[in-house]
């Protein structure tokens, strides 16, 4: 083929240009450490990279959520441990008081010594129940943090003999709600990291028994009720038995029964305070005589005609203290001791729940740490450049370039002119 000067020059320029492009590409790779810089370099890898990076970001966030959840649960466990210690001590005192080993003059020890100690323990427990977390917010109030979860009610009454006459604690009211704080520990996986105070600090099983005869009752329309935060739908035409069935099949720790007078009774299957609500304009619980008609928010909304029984831990202690004042040894050794045992059991139950959650979080933590390492590796493989390989390629490209320059220079110079006279 006929070759002209332009062709030779063009070839040389083009080849040099191509080599420069390769060199430039290698320089960029080594300089940035990335195999590609634009989606068009490797569309599939870039898309994968997006997914990996998304996952890494998530994992970091979930780790944070997890750490926060764990520290909260551990704090709760610490509080519960102290509560257990206190209750153990109270139990010992109760047994001693019931045994009658302190017979002393008019039962002085019963009233003064033990009674006073119980009082102190009561205050200690209330303080524990109002514990705050690292940011100063109450941990046992559920979602409510603008007031103390447990409010002491004091009245002036005849003081314990020998004690300074002052206000006596007659009750501790729960002012929080039943919300649970949740943390997202993985995509779509949620874990509750707090327990509302009216579950933990509850002593005995609770029951709410209506006084209303509901034999004739039929639900007039579709309505909803909420027990312990779980919604139950009542259909039009439901009778008392249907409603009892629905409550019993719902995932709540509350059992419904029909008593002799066709009145409904709700009992807890594990100690906690029952929360009853009529929502979205329904009136079922009101009609059944469980909630007051012009009721306020739970937990103060039980119907005045209903029989409510069940004691919080504080109620148990107050009851014990009052029995000590009345020197009712039988009650002390009987009902009171039994109630304290129930309370202890409840606390222990919650401690194991918390413990189980902490275990789950810890194993999850390990998994996330592993996932992070794995993702980082995938990402590095996907877009990181193998430095050794790239440097070798660079060296080779440089030599090729040098050769090309050398040879090119030789070819383009001589023409016939150099040799004509």
């Amino acid at each position: 083929m006929r070759i002209t000067n332009q062709m030779t020059n063009n070839s040389l320029v083009r080849n040099l240009g191509r080599q420069q492009e390769d060199l430039d590409e290698l320089h960029s790779q080594i300089g940035t450490g990335f195999k590609f810089r634009k989606p068009s370099d490797e569309p599939a890898n870039v898309t994968n990279g997006i997914f990996f990076k998304n996952r890494l970001h998530e994992l970091n966030q979930f780790e944070k959520n997890l750490a926060d959840g764990k520290s909260r649960l551990q704090q709760i466990d610490g509080v519960l441990e102290t509560v257990t210690d206190i209750l153990q001590r109270v139990r010992v005192l109760t047994v001693q008081a019931a045994n009658g080993i302190y017979q002393g003059d008019k039962g002085f020890e019963l009233e003064v010594a033990i009674g006073r100690e119980i009082d102190e323990h009561l205050k200690a427990l209330t303080d524990l129940a109002n514990s705050r977390d690292a940011t100063g917010k109450y941990i046992f109030g559920g979602h409510t943090i603008d007031r103390k979860p447990f409010e002491i009610i004091e009245t002036r009454q005849k003081g314990l003999k020998g004690l300074f006459v002052k206000d006596q604690i007659v009750g501790v009211e729960y002012r929080g709600d039943i919300g649970e704080q949740i943390r997202e520990i993985d995509k779509g996986e949620y874990l509750g990291v707090t327990i509302p105070g009216n579950k933990v600090f509850w002593g005995t099983n609770m029951s709410v028994t209506s006084a209303k005869d509901s034999y004739e009752y039929t639900a007039t329309s579709e309505q909803k009720i909420r027990i312990d935060g779980v919604e139950i739908s009542i259909s039009a035409g439901d009778k008392l038995d249907d409603i009892i069935d629905k409550i019993n099949t719902a995932p709540i720790e509350v059992k419904a029964t029909k008593l002799g007078n066709n009145n409904i009774s709700l009992t807890t299957t594990s100690p906690h305070q029952i929360w009853l609500e009529d929502i979205e304009g329904g009136t079922v619980l009101r009609d059944l005589g469980l909630i007051e008609t012009n009721a306020s928010e739970p937990p103060g909304n039980y119907s005045r005609t209903a029989t409510v029984s069940g004691l919080s831990i504080f109620d148990v202690l107050i009851q014990l203290r009052n029995d000590l004042t009345a020197k009712d040894q039988e009650r002390i050794g009987g009902k009171d001791l039994g109630d304290i045992d129930q309370a202890l059991e409840n606390i222990l139950r919650y401690r194991s729940v918390v413990g189980a959650k902490v275990n789950r979080l810890e194993s999850h933590e390990h998994r996330i740490a592993f996932d992070k390492t794995f993702m980082t590796e995938l990402l590095a493989n996907n877009e990181g450049v193998d430095l050794a390989e790239a440097i070798m390629n660079l060296k080779w490209a440089e030599s090729v370039h040098t050769y090309a320059l050398n040879v090119g220079a030789r070819i383009i110079r001589p023409t016939l002119l150099d040799f004509l006279r």
Binding site: M1, R2, I3, T4, N5, Q6, M7, N10, S11, T32, F34, F36, R37, K38, P39, S40, E42, P43, A44, V46, T47, G49, I50, F51, K53, N54, H57, E58, Q61, K64, N65, D68, T135, K137, G141, G142, H143, T144, I145, D146, G176, D177, G179, Q181, I182, R183, E184, K187, G188, Y190, E277, I279, E280, G281, G282, E383, T415, L416, L417, L420
Partner: protein, 637 residues
């Protein structure tokens, strides 16, 4: 015996011919580096010899040669290679236009190594997660506000840059069309000159070269072809339409299309018909402007409106730290300016459309329960013809099945379950015209699914159907007014902002849920301050809950889809342009091989011609001596 002076003439002719040859050679060498130059060769032929057959011929041995003549100057050029090069240049420029603009889009979006939209979305998600952990802390609320502002600014900025790029493409169309017209005019002028010269019997080689160069320049802009049928009339075609015909040319003008934001289209000035282009830079620019960049901008718009709508709908149901509810997180500027969603689409002054983007039903539904009813849902695709799409459902289908069916049908409406498990129907990008983006065209159910079950339409059948082409259609919905989102004003990505309420008071950010007291069908009492469940719902909707952005399930999925599409488009353009570049170099080499000037060749020829010239001069000398002998020595005393 021949003429006394005839030998002189032969010598002189020889000198003249070789002088011309050397002259042309000099011309060649002078143009050695002119890429558009085809080397020329003087064709020497013998002069007409003596004697022609006639009665008055001299009685000498004949025919006696009469020397050489430069009969014509040949131009060595292969027209076929020129054609191949033209076509390759056209295609190369078409793909280069796309490659250049797509690369700029890649730079704007900054994936994978820059600070991207994805980073901003991730950061907003993290901010909401942290808010869920600490809903009572002002600091975390401020972070949410800042991250949201960061995201909206980035979206607006990206929109501006993409739009600017689109306008740049439009401007370049204008500039290139002007160039096109100028080139056509130049070709026409050359045609005039060439025809005249050809008529006079000349070979206007350099003018041919010039004309070929002009045609080559033209081929970079549009797909041209040369008409070879008539020797006297040089025709340049664009496809089947005539651009230049001999002395005449057809002007191309640009007309702005008000329907499409003033984009310029090419029309023939005389017939007002559209110029049909298939390839070339102008066509590449038009496709970049009308398809590629428009699509990218629409993707951004969809991301923006889906983000705004998804977050707003969850946010409105939640409560801020200050107890406020029904607060919008983002401001939404709607297309319609009245409360019924009505809008004047065709611009004649009368409202003619009900523009709805999303509607959510009243009732919470279970995705996995068998429906127990059957029927057919009718949707209209948002294409030119409003093709009806039928989605049947039967007793054993679950809601999840129906949702999947609707989404797979790609019928212009996507379905999902929202944070309250209510059925949500959203519109998508229009296949017909950008002005019709994000409008639900038609909703009809022959059965009870959309009516009683989901609580969207008031009644079934055709009478109860919602159709966007009529006004007053809002009363076809039984859904609550706050669960209906009107179509946003054009280009939601250009006006996405945090609401004034949130900007002024971060305590209004609704992190908590609430309850419905008194049965007002709306949440009206907040949970306590430590409730971050609403923030968690927003976070989930941004991440893994299928919220449906166009036909992708999640925001992450949609984003990855747009980047993947951009990457493959850019890669294709780059590779196609590369292929044409290599092909072009090969063809140009081939062409140079034929028409290029080789200095060595010319040098050798120059020596040859020079020697011949010397020899011819010698011949004249010799003749001179002969004549001298005759004149001065023959018969002189």
């Amino acid at each position: 015996m021949g003429s006394t002076f005839s030998g002189l003439e032969v010598g002189k002719r020889g000198l003249s011919t070789h002088q011309q040859a050397l002259h042309t050679l000099g011309h060649n060498i002078s143009n050695a580096d002119n890429k558009a130059y085809a080397r020329q060769r003087v064709q020497m032929t013998t002069a007409d010899p003596l004697y022609d057959p006639a009665l008055n011929r001299a009685k000498v041995a004949g025919q006696i040669g009469q020397g050489s003549v430069a009969s014509y100057i040949e131009r060595i050029r292969d027209g076929f290679i020129d054609e191949k090069i033209s076509i390759t240049i056209t295609e190369k420029n078409y793909w280069s236009a796309k490659e250049e603009y797509l690369r700029e889009v890649e730079i704007i979006l900054a994936e994978p190594q820059g600070q991207t939209l994805r980073n901003k979305l991730d950061e907003l998600w993290s901010a909401f997660e942290e808010l869920a952990n600490f809903p009572d802390e002002s600091a975390h609320r401020s972070v949410v506000k800042e991250k949201a502002i960061g995201l909206t600014s980035r979206i607006e900025d990206t929109f501006k840059k993409l739009n600017f790029l689109k306008e740049q493409a439009n401007r370049e169309v204008e500039i290139k069309t002007r160039e096109l017209n100028q080139l056509a005019e130049s070709i026409r002028l050359l045609n005039e000159k060439i025809t005249k010269l050809e008529a006079l019997g000349d070979n206007p080689n350099d003018l041919y070269d010039k004309r070929d160069k002009l045609v080559e320049d033209l081929s970079a802009l549009v797909d041209v072809s040369i008409g070879k049928s008539d020797q006297d009339e040089f025709m340049v075609f664009i496809g089947q339409q005539i651009l230049v015909q001999g002395y005449k040319k057809n002007e191309i003008q640009l007309i702005g299309n008000a329907d499409y934001e003033g984009k310029l289209d090419l029309f023939w000035a005389n017939t007002k018909e559209r110029v049909i282009l298939k390839s070339g830079r102008i066509q590449g620019l038009i496709e970049v402007r009308d398809f590629i960049l428009t699509e990218k901008i629409q993707h951004l718009d969809s991301l923006a409106i889906n983000l705004v709508d998804t977050i707003n709908s969850i946010h409105r149901d939640g409560f801020g730290l200050n107890g406020k509810t029904n607060v919008d997180f983002f401001d939404v500027r709607t297309l319609s300016s009245n409360a019924f969603g009505e809008y004047d689409l065709n611009g004649d002054g009368i409202n003619d459309t009900t523009a709805i983007f999303r509607v959510s039903g009243k009732h919470s539904l279970d995705k996995d329960k068998p429906l127990g009813i059957s029927g057919i849902i009718t949707l209209y695709k948002n294409d030119e013809k409003l093709t009806p799409v039928l989605i049947p459902y039967s007793i054993d289908d679950t809601l999840g099945d129906v949702i999947r069916r609707i989404n797979n049908a790609q019928a212009g409406v996507v379905a999902s379950l929202n944070h309250d498990n209510q059925l949500t129907l959203k519109a998508t990008i229009s296949e017909a015209h950008p002005r019709k983006n994000f409008m639900i065209q038609h909703l009809e159910d022959s059965g009870n699914l959309l009516v009683g079950m989901a609580g969207i339409l008031t009644s079934s059948g055709q009478a109860g159907a919602f159709d966007a082409r009529k006004v007053g259609e809002l009363n076809k919905f039984q859904a609550y007014p706050e669960d209906i989102q009107f179509t946003p004003f054009y280009h939601p990505a250009s006006h996405i902002k945090l609401s004034q309420e949130i900007q002024n008071n971060v305590n209004s950010i609704a992190a908590s849920r609430g309850k419905d007291i008194g049965g007002v069908q709306d949440y009206n009492k907040p949970h306590g301050h430590k409730d971050g469940s609403n923030a968690l719902l927003i976070a989930t909707a941004l991440r893994e809950k299928p919220s449906m952005v166009e036909y992708q399930e999640t925001f992450g999925g949609f984003y990855a889809y747009t980047i993947a599409k951009l990457g493959t488009e850019a890669r294709e353009a780059k590779q196609e342009a590369e292929v044409r570049k290599t092909l072009l170099t090969e063809f140009e080499n081939l062409r140079q091989s034929v028409m290029g000037v080789s200095l060595d060749e010319e040098m050798a020829q120059m020596v040859q011609f020079q020697q011949a010239y010397n020899a011819n001069a010698r011949v004249i000398n010799m003749q001179n001596e002969l004549l001298d002998t005759i004149i001065n020595r023959l018969g002189v005393r």
